[in-house]
Every structure is written in C-alpha cells, then in structure tokens.
C-alpha cells in the first residue's frame, strides 16, 4: 500500500532548530551532540538534556538505523506507519516508515533515511527499508 497520497504538515521551525531543517532541505540528517559529555540527543536542543551544558554542536548522522517500534494507523483515509527508528548514533526518533508494504514492516528491520516534502515547509526525515 502506498503512502504517497498522504500530505505531511510542515514543522514549525524556530531559531533553535533551524539548522536541522536547513540540513533536511539539503538531504542531510543532523543530530545534536554535547561536547561536554559526549552524548548525542534528539530532538535537538541548545542545552544538553543529559548534562545541561550549552556546548552542543550539530553532527551529521549516517541516516541508517533499525525500527524500534511502529504502528499502522488503519482508521484513516490513507493508512500510514508511524514509527520510532533507533539510529546508528544511538538515539531513537519518531518518524514515518514509507515507500514500502505497510504490512511487511517489522521491529528490528534495517532502514535508511529519505526526505519527504511537507505542506509549505522544509522536508522531514522519514525511513524506508534499507
């Protein structure tokens, strides 16, 4: 079943997270990493949620990961798969699993990032079987 008919609402971009969506427009997935404690987090913040340091920097993610969990929403005109993907960098992010048979999605499945356009905003990172 295709998910291409579904339209994606635009993320509301603010100054703190603008670099993330500038990067998605270039086809790159960025994460925030803390220089002080060395840990990567998501969603991105100016101040590290682990050690409260302001010394956080943007790093490029590999865009590869595995499905941590998912659910196919059935009671809507166009069914879609929401999911959490655990990236190789260790963080788990909410996303959609797209461009695949929704009934064949499995936890643990290897996936890679793709960028999908939103309605009037920057593209957002989604994942498809690797």
């Amino acid at each position: 079943m295709s998910t291409t008919e579904r339209k994606y609402p635009a993320p509301m971009v603010n100054p703190e997270i603008k670099p993330f969506f500038d990067a998605t427009a270039q086809g790159t997935l960025m994460l925030k990493k803390c220089v002080a404690c060395g840990q990567t987090h998501h969603y991105p913040r100016a101040i590290c949620p682990f050690c409260a340091s302001e010394r956080t920097e943007w790093v490029t993610a590999s865009g590869r990961g595995t499905i941590y969990s998912y659910s196919v929403m059935r009671r809507v005109p166009v069914p879609y798969a929401i999911g959490y993907v655990t990236l190789e960098e260790g963080v788990t992010m909410m996303t959609n699993i797209v461009d695949c048979d929704l009934d064949a999605i499995r936890i643990g499945q290897r996936v890679k990032v793709v960028f999908k356009p939103t309605e009037g905003g920057p593209p957002v990172p989604m994942f498809t079987p690797a």
Binding site: R6, Y8, P9, A10, P11, M12, V13, N14, I17, F21, Q39, T40, H41, H42, Y43, R45, C48, P49, F50, Y68, S69, Y70, S71, V72, M73, R74, R75, V76, Y80, I82, G83, Y84, T86, G90, V91, T92, M93, M94, T95, N96, I107, G108, T118, V124, M126
Partner: protein, 389 residues
C-alpha cells in the same frame, strides 16, 4: 513530612451524563462541584482551596472561582493531562497538612462527544511552541497510534498477545454491565475484542476507551472536618508522581512513570501489594493497564499478560479486581481525562458503596493510578493509596 493521615477524601461525584449537548463547560464543572460537596455534606462556602487542570475553561481557577462564587486562599493548577486529578488529591493533602486550606475542591469536566471530537484518531494540533512538535507532528501522531507503538514493542519484547490485552476489556465489560450510567454495558468476549476493527496495529477498537462528556469532582478535607461529617472515612495514605519522557532519545516504550510514582506511594503509605484489595488503573487503552500493573509491581516486568488474563481482574472472580465501574474502557472517560473517575470508584469501594455485584469484600486499602499524556511520548504518572478508617 508526610501526607499520611493528614487529609481525607470527604466527597466524590461522577456526573451521570455521557453526552452534554445542552450544557456549558463551566456549568458541568459547577454541577460536579455541587455533587461532591453534597456527597460530603459540606457547603460551597466551606471550600477554601480549589484545584483544576487544562480542561477548566478560561483562566482555570480564576474563571471557575468567579463562575462558582468561591472565596479561596489556595489554588493549584497542576496539569499532567488525565492524571492531573490523582496528583491534585495528593497536592490537596499537602496543602491541608501545611494549613494552607481546610477543604479542597477538585473538578474535571468536558464535552468532547457533544463537540464531535475525534479524540484518538486525528493528530491534535500542537500546543504553541511545544519543543517536541516539529519532530513529531509531521508524522501524524495520534493518541491511538502512540499507545499502539508501546503495545507493539511490549509484544515484541515480552511476547504479550492481543488476547491477553483483550482480557482487560473483558473484565471492564463484566463490571460495566452493573453500572446504569456506563456508556457501554454489553459484556464482550476476548474474541469480540480481537475481531473488532483494527484502529492502529495492534490496538483494536475495543482496546480503546470511550469518548464521553461529563466530569467529576472530589472534596478533600482536613481530619477534624472529615470526622465531623456523616460519611465513611477515607484517608489519604500515600502518593507519588513522576513524569516520563523520551529521555533525550533514549526511548523505551515498555515502561511508564509508574515505576517511580508507585514505589514512592507504597513507601509513604507503608503498605505492601498484598494489602491492596482493589485497584483503579487508568485505562485509556488496554495496554495502559497492563504496563501500569507491571510498573506498580503487581507482577514482574513483562508478565503483565499473564496477570490480566483469564478473568484475574474481574471482581469476585480474580485476585486483582480493577475498575469496577467499567473504567474508561466501558463506563466513562469525561473530557478525555480518566484520572478523576479512578479516584471516585476507589472511594466507592472503600466506603462499601460500589455496586453490590462488584463490591470487593473487606475493601480496606485501595490504589488509584493515573497516566496522563501518552505512553508513546511523554506522560505524567500519579499513584494514590487510600484506606478506610
């Protein structure tokens, strides 16, 4: 410093309506307030503390104090979604213990059904400037598919089955058949739950709670006042509260904040699981109950499926009677917030005022637990332990 024994639940009320086309939101709040005060045997002018959450209209306590004509010296608007009101009971006990108020009124009301709200299946517009929204809202998170992801992971990790989840709904329906106000009074089977339409894998329609209008209220009073009234004495023994969130991306959907709120409440109450005769567990979905019971320690982690199966949650049948009013799954989920009615049914049980068909014998200690927000993203967990004096 503890709240143990410092305050009593003097009055409770659950609005009988399930669809309030002809009432305003403020009116519903005032009606449930009146009901709980009448249940306690107190008057409006006895109230000097007021608690409400995000469902209250306008500027919360300011608008409602104005509407109801309250003269207050204490206000609390702790907002943790549907668990707010369980926390409010604990905060009311704290305020009473400190002498900040003598009689605390907690109200909840809403009319999502009259307003035609698609509570579970349509993404809710993000709260302004919510920091998570740009990284979630584009992906279509709904209440149903967020909880569904928690269920999916629990099944993957622990082998939990749809049939085991279905037993939670079956138990709720067994209780709801005796509640004349329940929205769904029909007894259902495991097969009927599993064969109901899939909403969001693996949650079926009958794994989801009802959408109802109405509300409820609770009156918490200081010991001297509670003991002067003619109602059975229900005492606050202990409470715990905690948020659980995504932990910067170290996401684990298999447990809830009950792993923190539960032990805090048990320690303050000074009781063990064997002492608990009845539990009210927030049941937005069947999975919510299963994960909560594990996290509260009623079984080892991952064994919730076995705990809830085979009628073990049915009063008079199983070892752990729960939600004897039919809960959110069958009876009532006013304003899409089920925490207040969890306290109400626990109080009914402790007073011996539950329906005779579901009343737990010698019900002297009970637990009420709320989960507000989403198991799939962030939520507030609240545990309250009460006893009958």
């Amino acid at each position: 410093m503890t709240i143990k024994g410092k305050a009593y639940v003097a009055g409770v009320f659950e609005h009988p309506t399930r669809k309030a086309d002809d009432k305003s939101l403020a009116q519903l709040h005032a009606e449930v307030a009146k009901g709980a005060l009448a249940d306690a045997g107190l008057a409006k002018d006895d109230v000097d503390g007021y608690f409400c959450a995000g469902d209250a209209p306008g500027l919360g306590p300011l608008s409602m104090a104005d509407y109801m004509g309250l003269k207050l010296r204490h206000m609390d608007t702790t907002e943790t979604g549907g668990s707010s009101y369980v926390i409010h009971v604990a905060h009311a006990a704290e305020a009473i213990a400190l002498g900040k108020c003598n009689v605390a009124l907690i109200t909840l009301a809403g009319r999502p059904r009259a307003e035609g709200m698609a509570t579970g299946t349509v993404p809710r517009a993000p709260v302004a400037a919510a920091p998570d929204a740009p990284f979630e809202y584009p992906f279509g998170p709904t209440v149903a598919n967020q909880y569904a992801m928690a269920a999916m992971r629990h099944m993957y990790q622990y082998g939990t089955t749809s049939a085991q989840l279905a037993w939670i709904k079956v138990a709720a329906s067994q209780h709801a058949q005796h509640n004349p106000h329940a929205l769904l009074r029909e007894v259902v089977t495991v097969e009927e739950v599993i064969n109901s339409p899939m909403i969001s894998d693996p949650l079926h329609r009958l794994d989801c709670c009802v959408i109802t209008d109405g509300g409820g209220a609770i009156v918490v009073a200081k010991p001297e006042i509670a003991k002067s009234l003619k109602r059975p004495l229900v005492k606050v023994l202990g409470a715990g509260e905690a948020p659980k969130h995504q932990m910067g991306g170290k996401i684990d959907l298999t447990y809830s904040g009950a792993v923190w709120s539960g032990p805090t409440a048990f320690a303050e109450a000074g009781v063990t699981h064997a002492d608990i005769k009845y539990v009210s567990i927030y049941d937005s979905f069947t999975i919510t109950v299963l994960i909560t019971l594990e996290d509260l320690g009623f079984c080892p982690k991952g064994q919730g499926g076995k705990l809830v199966a085979d009628g073990n949650l049915i009063s008079g049948v199983g070892k752990l009677p729960f939600n004897t009013d039919g809960g959110g799954l069958c009876n009532n989920h006013p304003a899409n917030r089920g925490g207040l009615t969890k306290v109400v049914e626990a109080v009914r049980q402790l007073r011996g005022e539950a329906h005779p068909k579901v009343q737990v014998r010698n019900c002297d200690v009970a637990l009420a637990h709320g989960t507000g927000g989403s198991l799939g993203t962030r939520h507030g967990s609240a545990t309250l332990i009460l006893d009958r004096e």
